[in-house]
């Protein structure tokens, strides 16, 4: 697993390293330049001191005034860096020299403590002798922590006569025309030597370096603090954005980030907020759409129920009207037929021979029977119209209900080329249901079957017991339902029929009614061959879900189904 290094840490580390490198190199450059300067100042001082000494020593050297020379040298020795100074004649003999006592140097830690007075002085003298002896005309010679300046003491030929008279101004004038005076006009009469220790400047340089290191370190520290604060401040909104993005991804569209800044991050925050707002809007729109769709579905269901209720109400009204209108004349027909039968029985009808009486009686009885049938039809119609949820769930003999229902469509069927076959199973246990609803279910399915048969065909209605369920099958030899429509036929308003012929409600209502009664409906269809609708209702007193038959209470039928 790789460790995740945050943007913030990376930025801080990167910028800090860069700053450090910059600071350190800057420090080195300044340290280098600083020590160089310190050195060159030392060299300049030494040079000037040596020049002055040589100049001032000219006359005393000429006259061998060692006392004056000593005074000059003492003056030079006032400079603490000077460890040695001396005047030599042109033969290299020392006219005067001064050496700093070694204990002072020890105290000041200029030389190692094991360096003795004699050793130091010998070393100095030896070196100076070397310097003098050498023909080296460099401005200085550096050797073992010391810088030696050797300046020749000389007199100018052209101005030698002025020596005595203008002594006070000599040095100044000499110094002034020195540049103009050529080497050839000079006579070297000796040399002034000054030896300066580099200890002090080294110390100064070391101090400088230490200070610089401290300052640099401090600067780096401060810079790092500033960098991390700045980075943190600039990255925090990014972090906030990262967190906010996570929350939005998690579905919290109300999440907003601060957008106060007037920079790219501020822009990002603003676009983020806009985006979140848009997301929220579209999410809301989506939710609204879903709600709307649910509402449409609900509306459809309600409409469907209303249509169904309306259908039923209209049918109920119609049935009532029909019943009233038909029952009165029917009562007349039946009543008179009965009266006639009675009269015939009592031989009260004249002009009819005794042999003819039974025949005529049977005619009248036939009239009566047919009227009875009419009465039945009207009653069924009323029952069907009454189909509503008001009805109580009762034990129903499904065979009886199917018979009654088919009687209603029987007439219509006999007008067509459709043959109706029925096979009812004997001894079917009752189911729990509502007669009106069952009638409506069967009517809907049988009417569909009739409409599916284009010219001639057969509708077979059968009942059977299947474990704990009573099955009713309505099979037709009609056009069939294509596979892609099998799921749709139960949807409200799905119809393949012409406008006005089908509302597409029949099966959806049927489905609802069957399920209301705890039943199930299924379709088996082959295009061009036919369709079978199967209704399954749990036997009364058996839980609908129970698949295990309660042997003993339910008589299992294995007898052949009875014919039509």
């Amino acid at each position: 697993m790789t460790m995740r290094i945050g943007l913030q840490k990376r930025a801080i580390t990167g910028i800090s390293l860069l700053l450090m490198a910059l600071a350190v190199s800057l420090m080195w450059i300044s340290l280098y330049q600083g020590s160089d300067q310190i050195r060159s100042q030392l060299l300049k001082r030494g040079r000037v001191a040596a020049d002055n000494l040589a100049y001032n020593a000219t006359y005393p050297t000429v006259i061998r005034d060692t006392a004056s020379l000593g005074d000059f040298l003492d003056g030079i020795m006032a400079e603490k860096e000077v460890l040695y100074c001396g005047i030599f004649d042109d033969a290299g003999t020392s006219l005067a020299e001064r050496l700093r006592p070694v204990f002072m140097l020890h105290e000041l830690d200029v030389v190692e403590s094991d360096v003795t007075e004699e050793g130091l002085h010998n070393m100095l003298r030896h070196t100076v002798a070397d310097v003098i002896a050498s023909d080296d005309h460099r401005e200085y010679v550096e050797y073992e922590g010391m810088v030696y300046f050797q300046v020749p003491i000389h007199i100018d030929h052209g101005s030698s006569d002025e020596l005595g008279s203008e002594l006070g101004l000599y040095g100044l004038g000499g110094a002034l025309d020195e540049s103009a005076t050529s080497e050839d006009n000079r006579d070297v009469i000796g040399a002034a030597v000054i030896g300066m220790t580099t200890h002090y400047i080294e110390e100064t340089i070391a101090d400088l370096r230490d200070n610089m290191i401290w300052i640099t370190a401090l600067a780096i520290l401060i810079a790092m603090v500033i960098v991390s604060v700045v980075v943190r401040l600039s990255i925090r909104p990014i972090n906030e954005l990262v967190v906010a993005t996570g929350r939005v991804a998690g579905g919290d569209y109300d999440c907003k980030v601060r957008e106060g800044r007037n920079d790219e991050i501020g822009d990002l925050a603003r676009s983020f907020n806009t985006m979140t707002g848009d997301l929220k809007k579209s999410r809301d729109a989506l939710v609204e759409k879903e709600l709307l769709e649910a509402l449409v579905v609900e509306l459809r269901e309600t409409q469907e129920q209303l249509v169904q209720a309306g259908k039923l109400a209209a049918l109920g009204q119609l049935a009532a009207g029909v019943a009233h209108e038909i029952n009165n004349p029917l009562a007349g027909i039946m009543g008179y037929a009965q009266l006639l039968t009675e009269k015939l029985r009592r031989r009260e009808v004249e002009g009819i021979s005794a042999e003819e009486v039974p025949k005529i009686t049977s005619y009248v009885e036939n009239m009566e029977k047919q009227s009875q049938r009419c009465k039945q039809i009207v009653q069924n119609l009323l029952k069907f119209a009454r189909a509503s949820s008001k009805e109580e769930m009762v034990d129903v003999d499904i065979n009886a209900v199917v018979r009654e229902t088919l009687a209603l469509v029987d007439h219509q069927l006999s007008q067509s080329n459709i043959t109706l076959e029925t096979r009812y199973a004997d001894h079917l246990p009752p189911i729990r249901g509502q007669e009106g609803k069952l009638q409506q279910v069967i009517t809907n399915i049988v009417i569909n079957a009739m409409q599916a048969i284009e010219d001639r065909g057969t509708i077979t209605v059968s009942s059977e017991l299947d474990n704990d369920r009573v099955l009713v099958r309505v099979a037709d030899t009609g056009v069939g339902i294509p596979g892609e429509n099998l799921d749709k036929v139960f949807e409200p308003f799905f119809t393949t029929k012409d406008l006005g012929r089908g509302t597409g409600l029949g099966l959806s209502v049927t489905y609802g009614l069957v399920h209301d009664m705890g039943g199930e409906i299924s379709i088996d269809s082959t295009v061009g061959v036919g369709t079978t609708f199967t209704l399954a209702f749990p036997v009364a007193g058996v839980e609908p879900q129970r698949a295990v038959p309660r042997n003993g209470t339910i008589e299992r039928t294995s007898q052949p189904l009875d014919g039509p």
Partner: protein, 146 residues
């Protein structure tokens, strides 16, 4: 109580029903009067003796239910047979009114005859005791009738 023929009032807006019933009942010895709606039927109650009323439910001017209510105001004991042409739409009759019976159209003549017989022969409150104070003792009346 002996079932001797009496006076029967038939109320129906359908002519065929009126003539069928008067034919049948007069042949059986009843004195029959007819009316074509509840209002005129009610008026005929004042014209003479009526022992039983056979009435349709659905009629113009005054329907069967209203007629029954009015008849009960005149005589709480009068036997009434209500003929209903819409079987499942029961007319509302007082549940404890034992002098009312319903038949559904189209009816069977035997059924109608037996209903008439049953109503005429039913135990009834003795008219002598039909005072307000006597109404609280229907059992005595029933015993008298037996």
């Amino acid at each position: 109580m002996a079932s001797k023929p009496g006076h029967i009032l038939i109320v129906d807006d359908e002519l065929v029903i009126r003539s069928l019933l008067s034919e049948m009942l007069s042949e059986e010895g009843f004195t029959v009067a007819t009316a074509s709606d509840g209002q005129s039927g009610l008026e005929m109650m004042n014209d003479g003796q009526v022992d039983l009323v056979i009435s349709d439910v659905h009629m113009p001017v005054m329907d069967g239910s209203k007629l029954v209510t009015e008849l009960r105001k005149l005589n709480p004991d009068l036997p009434v047979i209500v003929m209903n042409s819409i079987p499942d739409r029961d007319i509302t009759t007082p549940a404890d009114d034992r002098a009312i019976a319903t038949v559904n159209k189209p009816f069977d003549l035997h059924e109608l005859r037996s209903t008439i017989r049953r109503l005429r022969n039913r135990p009834r409150i003795n008219p002598v005791h039909r005072t307000k104070s006597a109404l609280g003792r229907p059992r005595d009346a029933a015993r008298d009738a037996l």
